[in-house]
């Protein structure tokens, strides 16, 4: 399901030597890595499906107001009339109707569909930005460590060790829970998003950092870098012109695979009550509300499935991308 079974990698038995050399040799000539990757990706139906879902979700997030507007339900609008005032459950059990596609929340009768749609915004926004931050810090420090080596490398590597030793979730919770409500000129959702992006991104950079460092170390020993160096190229030139272009593929792959992790991370923080502040809808926050109402299962079903599908889609796509860009990588 995940990896396209390519001819050589998938064979458990001795493979005739000829196959690779003879059939593949000509085909590869004259194609850029991107073209090859795209060719491989096109063949990987599963990854493509994941990619399409990702695109769909991004569109949903971007056009959330339009989508929700079309159905006429504001995500924070109460519908107390639809709630049974003694059991707090929707009067019809779920409240699912043409107006409320996913039903309504117990207690206040808010429309679950529009909350799930709006939840995609927070979820994706934070996951993307946090990933970007991780990738930026990770690349910068990873390349620095890998390229300069020596003391620089050992300091950065040890820093990564320290970061990885932190119980991140505990720490993130503690930080997100104690930061005041206005800081750095930001308030409200903007501050919370910035804070979560910072926390998630900041604690995750060593994952990318390690990979970039490793790749840099091996690239540094390669001939073309030696060639550039022997031609008198300086550090920055080598880093930006020789190393970074070759690091794009692994960074892209691991950044893509970090996104679902970050989505789960954000969901967990929201679930634990330290995410973006209510009433702004988040999937994790909805789940945490829904826990108290487990006897009204549609309430937890929709946000739960939203998280699941989103994370799965990113994982599928990221896996496909990895296989396409670097079939040998695990």
């Amino acid at each position: 399901m995940t990896a396209p079974m390519d001819v050589t990698g998938g064979d458990t038995h001795a493979t005739p030597e000829a196959v690779v050399g003879a059939s593949g040799g000509k085909a590869i000539q004259g194609r850029s890595l991107g073209q090859i990757a795209w060719m491989r990706l096109k063949r990987d139906k599963v990854a493509l499906t994941g990619g399409l879902i990702v695109v769909f979700l991004i569109l949903v997030a971007v056009f959330a107001p339009v989508i929700v507007g079309a159905f006429g339900q504001d995500p924070t609008q109460f519908n107390s009339d639809l709630i049974d005032s003694s059991t707090m459950a929707p009067k019809t059990g779920t409240g699912i109707s043409a107006e409320h596609l996913f039903g309504i929340e117990p207690v206040n009768g808010r429309d679950i569909f529009s909350r799930v749609v709006y939840g995609a915004r927070i979820s994706l926004l934070i996951a993307f930005l946090a990933t970007l931050l991780s990738a930026a810090i990770g690349t910068l420090l990873g390349v620095t460590a890998g390229y300069f080596g020596g003391v620089v490398d050992s300091i950065i590597s040890k820093a990564m060790d320290v970061f990885l030793a932190f119980p991140i979730l505990v720490f993130a919770m503690a930080l997100a829970g104690t930061v005041p409500d206005s800081a750095f000129g930001l308030t409200g959702d903007a501050l919370r998003v910035a804070l979560l992006v910072f926390i998630i991104g900041f604690f995750n950079w060593p994952y990318i950092g390690r990979i970039v460092r490793g790749q840099t170390l091996s690239l540094r020993e390669r001939e073309f870098v030696d060639a550039a160096r022997s031609l008198g190229a300086r550090g920055p030139y080598i880093i930006f012109r020789e190393l970074l272009p070759n690091l794009v593929a692994p960074i892209l792959v691991y950044a893509t695979l970090l996104i679902p992790t970050n989505i789960l991370f954000e969901a967990a923080l929201s679930f634990l009550g330290v995410g973006v502040r209510p009433p702004t809808p988040t999937w994790g926050g909805m789940l945490s509300d829904a826990v108290r109402f487990y006897t009204i299962p549609h309430f937890m079903f929709f946000p739960g499935m939203a998280i699941f599908i989103t994370v799965l889609a990113f994982n599928l796509f990221g896996d496909g991308l990895r296989d396409a860009l670097d079939p040998k990588a695990r």
Partner: protein, 590 residues
């Protein structure tokens, strides 16, 4: 049997029933005490335990199983400040006076426990004397003397060691200057506050007249503590019992077990039946699981008495057979929203009134859990069960109870904010219902242009650092703050003093009153405290209630109602109004 009980509880029952009816429950006094031989086989009905003893029995033996979804705040009598804990503490501790173990309103009655009788006040009500019964012993056989009671109150003075408790004794007794409790200032003579002329007499000296000191004398801090066994903050690990049960095993954070205390002499104690052979209490148990286990008969009592969780609500209410085994009492707890007059534009009374008018009480009630598990919509402060309560509504919320937007807009115009204003609402992050209530207010006030921003704060620091800290609240524009208060005992003083007296507000934070600042109210309180005539005193509490509502410093949300499910295995189940939950002293095992 039922009839006799009902006769005794008659006065209380009327009020309790009225309350139940308000909540929309099908409360009914018609008990089918028909032909069935064993009383315990009588047909159960919804709300039956509000007015009668369900499954009455005198059978001894069995173990009662209780669970607490959270941690017990403390088992130390000096350091526990939860109603359920005061209900439960009577099993292992005897205070000077106690609330009677009886159904409904009768449970509000103070009866002597350690003391031979209620307190004897001096003429100016500044000195109160109690005589202590002879023959009462600690679990190790040592006789209890007045000195043990005095020591217990002295140690409760030290708030660094016992931070969770109340400060009534600290505030009202005439302590010598510089006194810091027996640990830090062991040599200071405290006779100016408490005298023990002999082993069986204890005399309290107050700084000011106090007409209802007997309520102080029922506080757990008067439960005697033997000085040589006191381990300070660690005493909660093994409290020395004076009641019918003592600790066998106590693992803080997990639970404890009580077994019979053979040094307890029933002859000295007309109040306790002591039916079970022991109690098994587990703490930190998943709340939903507690509900399910009570419903399945696996567990007897959810000890905190907060009622079933939202998830089980539907199950209990929709199944008539289950509902017939449930009770829906109103407690003396008010959930409310503090409206901080220090935060502009709420310094203008018209703006505060606009908040009152614009509130959607139905949405609020839903947020707190609805008309059964949430509460009864409150229009004033004093809960119906507390003397002095009067039905009045200064801000009629329209015919559908969803707010009077016209009046709200008029008030806004009068305030000079015709288009509304922006402010923040604080709530405790860990409390989903406070969050829901804050969201409901946000929605409701938004209709008239009052824009609220939600500000969750950790509950541990809610009063000390954030919402309850006047400086912080003002600086961060916490115009509204979710709050709640349960009466320490069922009278106006116990309910109102801590939440409307502006003199309890501390600039360092920590007080429950975070919005009411009205010198007139303070004056009325002083008057009420001195008033020895009960009716006149209650009238004063009513006046205070009205004044605060006029000031619109408090937006009452609901008076809490809880949906309690009776244990399948327990006998003598009834709700004691003093605690607003099942009385743990009476309960036995089938």
């Amino acid at each position: 049997m039922h009839r006799r009980r009902l006769g005794v509880a008659a006065t209380g029952a009327v009020l309790a029933l009225a309350v139940a009816a308000c909540g929309g429950g099908s409360g009914s006094s018609t008990s089918s005490s028909g032909g069935s031989a064993a009383g315990s086989e009588s047909k159960s009905e919804f709300n039956a335990a509000l007015t009668q003893v369900v499954n009455p029995s005198d059978k001894k033996g069995g173990i009662l199983k209780l669970a607490n979804p959270g941690d017990w705040d403390s088992l130390d009598p000096a350091d526990t400040y939860y109603g359920y804990s005061w209900n439960f503490i009577r099993l292992y501790g005897r205070s000077l006076l106690m609330f009677k173990s009886a159904v409904g309103k009768e449970g509000n009655q103070l009866v002597p426990d350690l003391a031979e009788d209620l307190g004897t006040p001096s003429d100016d009500a500044k000195t109160w004397t109690y005589r202590i019964k002879k023959g009462i012993k600690f679990e190790d056989g040592t006789p209890v003397t007045s000195k043990d009671v005095k020591y217990a109150i002295e140690r409760s003075f030290d708030k660094e060691v016992f931070p969770d408790g109340y400060t009534y004794f600290n505030d009202f007794l005439d302590w010598p200057k510089g006194y810091k409790g027996p640990y830090k200032t062991p040599d200071i003579n405290t006779d100016s506050a408490i005298e023990t002329p002999d082993d069986h007499t204890i005399v309290f000296h107050l700084k000011q007249p106090l007409s209802n000191f007997d309520y102080f004398a029922q506080l757990p801090a008067t439960i005697p503590v033997p000085k040589d066994k006191d381990t300070g903050a660690k005493y909660k690990e093994h409290v020395i019992s004076t009641g019918p049960y003592k600790f066998e095993k106590n693992e803080i954070g997990k639970g404890f077990t009580l077994v019979r205390n053979d040094q307890w002499d029933p002859a000295t104690d007309p109040n306790r039946k002591a039916l079970p052979d022991g109690y098994e209490v587990s703490t930190n148990v998943n709340a939903d699981d507690v509900d399910n286990r009570i419903l399945s008969g696996d567990l007897d009592v959810e000890v905190t008495g907060v009622g079933v969780q939202s998830a089980a609500l539907g199950r209990v209410l929709s199944d008539p057979a289950v509902k017939a085994n449930a009770d829906n009492p109103v407690s003396t707890r008010l959930w409310y929203t503090s409206v901080n007059g220090n935060v502009p534009p709420l310094d203008n009374i018209e703006c505060r009134r606009a908040v009152q008018y614009a509130t959607d009480k139905v949405a609020l009630q839903n947020a707190w859990g609805g008309e059964v598990a949430g509460g009864q919509i409150a229009t004033s402060l004093l809960p119906p069960a507390i003397p002095g309560h009067e039905d009045f509504n200064l801000y009629p919320p329209g015919p559908d109870n969803k707010g009077d937007l016209e009046k709200a807009k008029q008030a806004l115009a009068a305030c000079g904010q015709p288009n509304g204003f922006e402010t923040n609402i604080a709530y405790r992050a860990e409390r989903p219902k406070e969050k829901a209530a804050a969201e409901a207010l946000q929605q409701a006030l938004g209709r008239v242009g009052i824009k609220l921003t939600l500000k969750p704060f950790p509950q541990a620091d809610y009063f000390g650092t954030y919402a309850g800290n006047p400086g912080y609240a003002k600086k961060n524009k916490l115009g509204l703050a979710m709050n709640g208060w349960q009466s320490d005992w069922p009278d106006g003083f116990g309910f109102l003093q801590q939440i409307v007296d502006s003199r309890v507000i501390r600039e360092a934070g920590g007080s429950s009153n975070i919005s009411v600042r009205d010198p007139e109210v303070d004056k009325l309180i002083d008057q009420a405290v001195r008033e020895t005539d009960t009716n006149a005193r209650n009238a004063l509490w009513t006046a205070i209630d009205k004044k605060v509502m006029e000031d619109a410093f408090i937006l009452p949300n609901v008076w809490t109602k809880t949906l309690l499910v009776r244990s399948k295995n327990a006998t003598n189940i009834f709700v004691n109004d003093a605690y607003g939950m099942y009385d743990y002293l009476g309960m036995g095992v089938k």
